[in-house]
Amino acid sequence: MSTVLFFVAALGALTGAIGVITIENPFYTVLALVSHLISLAALFLLLSAEFIAAAQVVVYAGAVMVLYTFVVSYVGGQDAQPRLGEPLGRPPGRAMTVAAWACGGALVLELGIAVLGSALKSINTRGAPIPPGFGQPAQIGDLLLTHFLAPFEIASYLLLVAAVGAVVLARRRGGIGDDDGIPVFSAMDIFRPPPPGTGTMAEGAGRREITREEPAAEGAGRGEITGEEPMAVGAGGRETTRGEPVAEGAGGGKITGEEPVA
């Protein structure tokens, strides 16, 4: 039974892995990786690593793959377009090609001798006898909080740094930043006051042209149009600064469009 399960799961894992590198559409690539990860979780179960198998399904096949799916549908599949431009670098000469094949063949031969000759004989085993509760969440948690406390804490800091880094990399300040949209990050940003509009919807909404009539008409009535800013924010009773974002101005203009303005 365990043998049949192993071959089914191993075949699924290898098929998924081959699918990842052969399918053109990145969306189906992600789906192939999901099937690969679930098959791998079955292999983990066969190795009596129950907690790791559950974490694999929940964290990998669940959370990480959802993240991938979102990014693939955001960026879109661009892998099918033909190769543009010249190849990278100079094409290798004949001597370089021969040397590369020779080195690769030597590596394969050496690894084959090492693995088939000696290494795999020493691990031809069904494994040591395991205590009850091996691989259960209780044992993993016990190890993590006693023997491996420092790696556990370092991993949590790593997760924090990765989360902050992802937000910094992927954020967009098109609504309140410069209009060329190329962000420049600096460690001194921590000490500077944030630009006005930080934390509002204007930060992510981006710079957009205001074509509605009512904010422009409001602004025209007050004679405050400068550039493309509708300046209807001032009509809403708030003080308008020079760096007021356009998108926020549009929001203010929508509000004042419904309110009667004296």
Partner: protein, 99 residues
């Protein structure tokens, strides 16, 4: 099943992932192939953990999963930033850092 079968599967998955990293040009797919390689290492770690009857390897695999999640987060953030700047999503076209 003896442990060596698991190690053979692990080696095959690692080789497939490494081949994908070398041959594919979409950075999203390259990240997926990196996941393949990390998972192959995880399978080997858990196989050795079962072989010795010691759960330390499973803790190691768990930490590897944490590192992989961080790598995915930052990598996908870079890809989204590339997409925002209208850069091509193609590792052959991205040569700004080449000397």
């Amino acid at each position: 099943m003896s442990i060596e079968w698991y190690l053979v599967v692990s080696a095959l998955i690692f080789a497939i992932g490494a081949g994908g990293v070398v041959t594919r040009r979409n950075p999203l797919v390259i990240l997926l192939c990196l996941e393949l390689m990390l998972n192959a290492a995880n399978l080997a770690l858990i196989g050795f953990s079962r072989m010795w009857g010691n759960a330390d390897g499973q803790v190691f695999a768990l930490i590897v999963m944490v590192v992989a999640a961080c790598e995915v987060t930052v990598g996908l953030g870079v890809i989204v930033a590339m997409h925002r700047r209208r850069l091509p999503i193609d590792v052959d076209e991205l040569r700004e850092l080449r000397g």
